[in-house]
């Protein structure tokens, strides 16, 4: 029994080591299962999101059966936002996470239960950064629908996760939900995250990840490759984009590999939590 687990560990370790270097480089040159040139990746991804922007939210609901809301709630719960915080949500174009953070901070219930300094409420800044202006526009529209169009706390910024325009040590929190697998160079994005965070600031990443549970894995693969592209065609009229999506999930490093990358960027206390058996994982870390 012990021997089996030991040999499994050796086996996986060798396999991981060999494919580790390979897969890392290949993320930058892979577009789903296709091989592409590095320079082209961001353009191709940009095209995908320009195409899907308008139906992004509906498709999220359909593909995940509404579960993505719970996942984002969990993410924001883990973050524990507080009044006066400066938060950066990267690749958060349509504003899902940002709105939840805003609600968590400004909720009347919270204000009733805890002593909240009104002045610090004023200082709260939630920056939503996205490389794609179409996604940002959808987000601004949703903000207007909620009556937050002119709210000073929500700031919509167009920018690249690999080259953020924010100052060093300026953010209390950094979240990236379902965005990090779309960047060309993951390490650069992580390094930027490390740069902009203050000491004690938290990094949280919500991402589709790898499932290891035997039978469930097969079901999930079936669902991903058979059902989702068809849904994409049916609802959004765009099969290729959703094909890219499910392929990019498979190409993304698995949970532990990604956690190792986060640690390499300089973060402390790196942890991850699997939701739905690994379909989604929340990685968290602290800059010290």
């Amino acid at each position: 029994m012990a021997l089996r687990s030991v040999s499994r560990r050796i086996g996986s370790r060798i396999l991981n080591h060999r494919s580790f270097v390979a897969s890392l480089h290949s993320h930058a040159t892979s577009f789903g299962f296709q091989e592409i040139k590095e320079e082209d990746k961001s353009k191709l991804v940009g095209n995908v999101f320009t195409n899907v922007a308008s139906s992004y939210d509906i498709m999220n609901d359909v593909m995940s059966g509404g579960l993505h809301r719970l996942w984002k709630e969990r993410l924001v719960g883990k973050l524990s936002p507080f009044p006066g915080m400066k938060h950066l949500d990267v690749a958060g174009g349509t504003g899902d996470v940002a709105f939840r953070i805003y609600d968590a901070i400004y909720s009347v219930k919270r204000r009733a239960l805890q002593k909240v300094d009104e002045a610090s409420l004023e200082e709260t800044q939630i920056y939503v950064c996205d490389i794609n202006s179409n996604m940002l526009n959808v987000g601004k529209q949703r903000a207007a629908e909620r009556g937050l169009r002119d709210n000073k706390s929500l700031v919509w910024v167009e920018g690249d996760a690999e080259a953020l325009s924010f100052d060093d040590n300026s953010m209390d929190g950094y979240t990236i939900a379902f965005g990090i697998r779309n960047v060309t160079h993951i390490e650069k994005a992580l390094a930027e995250a490390y740069r902009v965070l203050k000491r004690g600031g938290r990094f949280l990443c919500l991402e589709l990840s790898h499932v290891e549970i035997p039978v469930f894995k097969n079901l999930y693969d079936l669902y991903s490759f058979q059902v989702i592209p068809n849904l994409g065609e049916l609802i959004a009229g765009d099969r290729e984009s959703y094909q890219y999506l499910v392929e990019s999930v498979r190409r993304f490093p698995p949970q532990e590999r990604f956690a190792a990358m986060i640690a390499d960027a300089g973060f402390e206390k790196v942890e991850y939590e699997n939701l739905v058996g690994g379909v989604v994982a929340i990685h968290s870390a602290i800059k010290l």
């Binding site: 370790r13 640690a263 942890e271 939590e273």
Partner: protein, 361 residues
Amino acid sequence: INSSSVHLGKQSKRGRLRRRSSFHFSWQRSHLRVTKLKPLTLRRTMYRTAAKHLLGGGGAFTSTRLLRFPKLRSTIIPSSYTSGLCTSSMGGNTESPMGNQSVNPNQSDHTAASSSSSSTSTGEGPRRNESRKPRAEFQEEQARVLSASLRHVPRLGWTEEAMMAGSRDVGVSPSIVGSFSRKEAALVEFFMDESLQLLMDRIDSGLDLQNLIPSARIAKLIRIRLEMQIPYMSKWPQALSIQAHPLNVATSFKQRAMLVDEIWHAVGDGASDLDWYVKRTILGGVYSTTEIYMLTDDSLEHRDTWAFLDDRVKDAFDLKKSIQEAKYFAEDIGAGVGKSVQGLMNGVMQTMSRRSGGSAF
């Protein structure tokens, strides 16, 4: 590696927590301790099984995997726990399992065996040679923030606000509070550990206990410990309710048990028979009732509390005598069955003369 972050043997020599040059907080210690090869003492088994029973049940939908990153990247060793409880105890993980693993820097697989023990979850920055340093940093930061937060507790209570104020004092972003497991409980447990440490320091630095009878010694030690809570008395009920929360019961139970054990050891208790459990339980009861009495005591310098304490300690000692009486009497009864009534009466007379004076009847 120090094989004893907590020596909890029944022998008197090992009956006390040995202090190391670096702090070991119980809130840092996971219930999953590294198994040592030497035989476990009864008490350690008791705590471990108690903790396991209390903590083992939380089968959850999500599972948290916690990683540690030793020198070589290829030896990432995951351990899976149930969520909630484990992220809770992960917040501070002891140095002992870490030390265990850093001893084996190569890809030796028996480190995998210790994956059944706890593993800490700090990332390592650019590859450093001392794998201890980055891990220790988070523990230290957490300790520093919690220590600074205690100043704000009388005003803000045992809450996240106090901890955020504390983090601002230290110069760290308040977000770090979001990463503490079981947030308010972390603060309370930190305080409990610190008070225990202070108590041990007071004992070590020459508290005069020799001239006192055991009951007076116990009263004095409990008094010293309870006086540490006086600054927080207005918010102590909140702390008690936090400790009573199901998620936190296991750790608070363990902390109180260590406290009681420490007090008995300082009093000079060398017993190793069944009495040991009874003694700890009774003292635990005395301590808790006094603590609760103190919550509503308005008298000058808590005089009423100390009087209450003395009474309870006296009761406890009387109780001890009564139990012993009952034991002897039962022996006699048992021995008397099969003997004549005369023989039985002789036995009883013997017992009564054995006791010199005091009677529980």
